[in-house]
Amino acid sequence: MNKERDLKNLKSSYKLGFSVPEDYVFKSKKGLDEKVVEEISAIKSEPLWMRDLRLKSYQTFRQKQMPGWGGDLSQINFNEIYYYLKPTKTEAKSWEDLPKGIRETYNKIGVPAAEKKYLAGVKGQYESEVIYGSLLKSLEEKGVVFLGMDEGLKRYPDLVKEYFGTVIPPADNKFAALNSSVWSGGSFIYVPKNVKISLPLQAYFRINAANMGQFERTLIIADEGSFVSYIEGCSAPVYSTDSLHSAVVEIIVKRGARVRYTTIQNWSTNVYNLVTKRAKVFGDGVMEWVDYNGGSRLTMKYPSVYLVEPGAHGEILSLAFAGSGQHQDTGGKAIHAAPNTTSQIISKSVSLNGGRTSYRGLLQIYPGAKGSKSKVVCDALILDPQSRSDTYPTMRIDESQVQVEHEATVSKIGEDQLFYLMSRGIPEAQAGSLIVSGFVEPIVKQLPLEYAVELNRLIELQMEGSVG
């Protein structure tokens, strides 16, 4: 357990895989126009095609409409947002500058000291570790590429060009267009044929402010027969002054490959988190999205699987927690475009203290996708009368030889269960917390152990109302 923690607290002194971020002395400028987009590209010394892609995406962003559904986006003012990388982690900040609630939570969850300081932006760099060095070295020897997206574009421009924007094109939606024009940071991963990486790759191996960047762009290519598991985020609340986070994640799962992408999202409650995540799955490939959303003011995110060749399989496990002032509008999409494809969507949400969770999903089966099977289960718990839960599932079935099932339930904690636990001497608050833990367990148990532990503690705290 400790080894894993230490692995995270690592520094960019590892020369082969990462570049040390330069001092970000870019002028902070509010608002977005063509000049800003050009400057971003120039500062990064990008190839011409990427610069053109950014500019064209900016035009698309201007033209596209805001979505007419989902959460309340009316308060977003695009002119008040900084689209540049600001001087960030290299600035000294004191631990005391952090809001009290955040500090207390870090303490309660048991985040180790070094990690606390990193998360708080106090310390810009991790301690180096021999173990970390040898891990990355072994990946390199197998031909695995794991870089920040900026670095990936520099060192593998042809590979990036082949896939960038083919899973989520800039015109897909307004926020994909925005990301495509101002993206910075994110991960670039390529796993060669038949290479299976047993240890999950974690986003904060990348020593970069972009770990918590506003407009991350991630591209993962798993070549035939390979396996990779990737984790982003952390269960401790991440304090961000940026009010708009709009990431794009594109994943290509080639024949027989398997990718698992886990997200633990816990942005502070001033953040709008609008993300487009999509995987293209080839024959007999498997894509698993594990998505936890517990932070932000509004999250709109629907991880998707496009099953384009026979035998492809996709799973979306979604867990959402909405507390006071929060709206989690989440779910997933499964698109069956080939015969004998299968999908499963399991969504569990909990709303309390006036929070609102909405499940939004799409199951689409194209003509010709014979023998496809899909099952969608969405369960929601509403813990008190002020809270709200919605379910908006859409099923478009255009093939007759298929099997489709969908179930949804919304309820409060069962009286019987509660009574039983209380009769065993467990105080009501704790009993409620236990029941909620049991409710979310099927999804939490899919997380790596330490995340599961942290998440359970976080849930307990949220139930006690002690997390602000």
């Binding site: 009368p385 379910t391 099923m395 309820s411």
Partner: protein, 223 residues
Amino acid sequence: MGEKKDLVREKLELTLGRTLIDRLEEGESELRLGADEALTIFLLPSQKYKNKKLTVWLEGRGSRVEILGALLGGGEEESKISIRVIHKGRETSAYIHLRTVLFGQSRSLFSGLIRIEKDAIGSGSLLEDRVLVLGEAARAESVPSLEIEANEVKASHAATVGRIDEEQLFYLESRGVSRATAVRMIVEGFFEPVLRRLSRKDLVAQIRGELWADALKQYLPDS
């Protein structure tokens, strides 16, 4: 889209007791139920149903609505059905169970909304939407939604879309039943769960007559 009709006033006098047989015709209908009022609505296909919107407000405490449907689509028909049940009063309940069989190239678009408002404490709502697709080019779109604003409630929905079980068919055929008759038997079995819910047995016979006589004959001429 046609004027909204107050179903209660218009049709209740014509129905047998508290069950309403609604021949799905185009238009919007609204229904408001008062305290302890209970109603069963049975939806039957009309010859060419196109666009039907039905909203039921469960306003009075303890009001209950049951919406059952045995629907068919064939040829190139397209049907759009939107059912909304809004729980406003305490301890209200709704049970919606629709079963649709699609032949030929028909399309069915179903949108169902169950909304339980803040004050509808102690309410419960269940929606089941099952589609059996028999036509090669038939298409089904289903959006069952839930909007729940109270927590002392229970709401759920289930939807399935599938084809006839070939094994079942094969079994019947091996017993000397013609394919067309076998399909008809399976379709009748498919509709059973909604017909069974009707306590008025005379109505069941009447509906069966409607279903088999008019509609099924049209789509399964050899049976």
